[in-house]
Subunit: 355 residues, 2 copies
Amino acid sequence: MEHGGDIYTEGILKGKKILDFSSNINPLGVPLKFKNNINEALKSVQVYPDIKYRFLKKYIVNYVKNGICNENIVLGNGASEIIDQVIGRIKSICIPVPSFIEYEKNAVKWNCKISFSELKDDMSYNYEDIYSKMEFLDALIIGNPNNPSGGIIDVSKFVPILDFCESNNKKIIIDEAFIEFTAENGFDFTRLVKKYKCIFVIRAITKFFAMPGIRFGYGISGDIDFINSIKKSQNPWNVNCFAEIAVKYSLSDKDYITKSLKWISEERNFMITSLNNLDIIEKAYETYSNFILCKLKYIDCNKLYDICMKNYIAVRKCDNFRGLDNSFVRFAIKDRESNSRLINVLKGGTVKGVC
Amino acid sequence: MEHGGDIYTEGILKGKKILDFSSNINPLGVPLKFKNNINEALKSVQVYPDIKYRFLKKYIVNYVKNGICNENIVLGNGASEIIDQVIGRIKSICIPVPSFIEYEKNAVKWNCKISFSELKDDMSYNYEDIYSKMEFLDALIIGNPNNPSGGIIDVSKFVPILDFCESNNKKIIIDEAFIEFTAENGFDFTRLVKKYKCIFVIRAITKFFAMPGIRFGYGISGDIDFINSIKKSQNPWNVNCFAEIAVKYSLSDKDYITKSLKWISEERNFMITSLNNLDIIEKAYETYSNFILCKLKYIDCNKLYDICMKNYIAVRKCDNFRGLDNSFVRFAIKDRESNSRLINVLKGGTVKGVC
C-alpha cells in the first residue's frame, strides 16, 4: 500500500466495511450546498466545460482573495496534476522529508535531481539546512502543513529562504492541501504571492471539503509566465463539471466551514491528549492539520496495522515515508465516535496482548 | 475558436442561449440510469477512488467484450489524456487530414515528427499513401469514424497496413470516440486487438453517452507493456468518481443505447437529404457518425457562422482543420426540432440575402 485511503484491497473487495483512519478527509463529508445543487452539474455534464474555465477561476479568486486574479491560477485534475506539472519544469529540487511521497515520485519521473532535507527531531523544518541547499538547487517543495508530520512553516524563519530564492530566480512550491485546517491564523502563503514571484502555492478541495473523488486542485503564483507555460502543456478540459459545481458551492458554504473549524479544533485536542495517554504511543507530534503522526513504542506499525485491520480500522503505516521507519504511524482525525473507537482499539486487550 | 462546443465566448458569457451544432453530442442527453444513481456518486466522492480502478475496468470489459481483460485497459481523464500519453511515446507519426486537431497539437508538443496523409476528394482514406508512409514512421493515428469527415476505415483495404505495422513493430492508434454511432456493424477494431498487438484503440463516453463534462476516456491494446508504460507515468487517481458511476450505469443502459441508435439512423438520413437540397451546400459528405461535413457554395464558413450566430445557432467553421478551407463547415446531428430549425435558417432569407 503506497498511499493511505486504499480501502479497496483489504476492505470493499473482500466485502468488509472499514473505518478509514489512513486517509485524511473531513468527516463532515461533502458540503450540503454542493449536494443540494447536484442537478446543476447533471445539466452541465452534457456540454463541454468552458475551455478557459472562466467562472471556475472566478470562484477561486473570490475564495482566496489576497489580490489574486484569474491569470494567477492554473487548474488541475487533482493537486496531483499540479504537482506533476510543476516538478516537470524543474531540474533540481529540495524535498524536506518525511513528506508526501508523490514529490519524490514525480521528481524521479522527470529526472529532476533531488536533495533531501531531514526534519528535526520535533518534526519542524530545518531552515538552515534548506537555506544552504537552495544555493545549488532550482526549487523547494514544502508542505504547509506538512504531511505526514502536521507541522507548518514558521514564516519568520522562512523569510530568508524566500528572499534568497526571489533574488536568485528559484521556485518555492508550497503545498497547502491541508491549509484550511489551520483556520484563519494567517499561515497561508497566498497572501505573499504578489510580493514573491518565486512562490507557487498548491491547493485542493480534497481534504477540507472532503472530496477526494472529485479530482480538483489548483496552483497560484505571481509568475504568470510560469502559470502560462503549465497551461500550454495541459490537456484541454482537464477539470470535470462536477468539480466546477463543487467549487462553486463548497467554497462559499460558510456554514460548512464554520462547523468544520469547530470540529477540528475540538477533535484535534481530544485526539492529541488521548493518544499521548496511550501505552503504545511514545509521542504524538503537534499538528496543525487533521491527522497526527505518532511514534510507537513496544509495537511496530505493521503489527499495529494488522490489529487495527482485524478491528475493521485502517491506519497509515509510515515505513514507506523517507525519513521514517516502522515505528511511526499516522492517524486521521475523525468524528468523536470514530475517534473513540480507534482509541479504544489502541488501548484495548488486543494491542496489549501483542506488546 | 479552436474547437467546437465553445458556447461560452459568444453565448453564456453574453447571456445568450445558443443552439449548439458545433459540438457533436447525442441530443438524448445524459443516460437516465446514471441520473437515477447520482447519489451513489455523491456517496463515493468522499473517499479516494480505487487507485487501480478495478471495478471501473470490469464495467468496460463487460461492455467492450472481444476477450479484453483489465490489463488491456488504460484509463484517462477524457480521451485527451490518452491521446497525449500515446503520442508522447512516439517519435514519428502519420496523421491523415483533415482530422481532430489535437493529434497534431500533441505531436508538436512532444516533438514527434509528423507526416500528413490527405484524404481523397470523397473524404475516404488514401490507404496506398498511408502504407507507403508507414515504412518511415513509428505510428499512425486514425479516426474511426473520422472527425470532421465522418468516414470510417475500410477494413479490407486497411489489413495490409495492419499486417505491415504488426510485423515491423509500429503502432496503429485508432480513435473510436464516435464508434457507437456506427451501430453494431462490426466497424470497431477492439475485435482485432487480440490478433494485432500494434493496435491501440481510444474510446470515450463523451459523444454517444453525451457526457463531455464528465471527462472519461480509455485506451485498449493487446500490447500490455505499452499499456503499463502509460499507467506508470500517469498521475494517481486520474479518473473522478462521477465518471466511474457514469460508466457503471451508462454502458449498461440498453434502453438508452436502443433509442440512440434509432434516433441517429433517422436523423442522419433526414439531415443528409435536407442539406443536399440546400442552395448553399455543394456537398454533404457521407457520414457514419453524428455530424456532417459540408462543402459550401456561394458563401464561406465565416459568413455562415455569423448568420447562424445571429439566429442563436453555433456551427463548426472548418477553416482551422488542416486540409480544409473556409468553404467547409461541420454540423452536428441533433433532434428533429433542432435539425429543422437549422435547416430553416440555412435556407432562409437571411442566408440568401448574403449569397
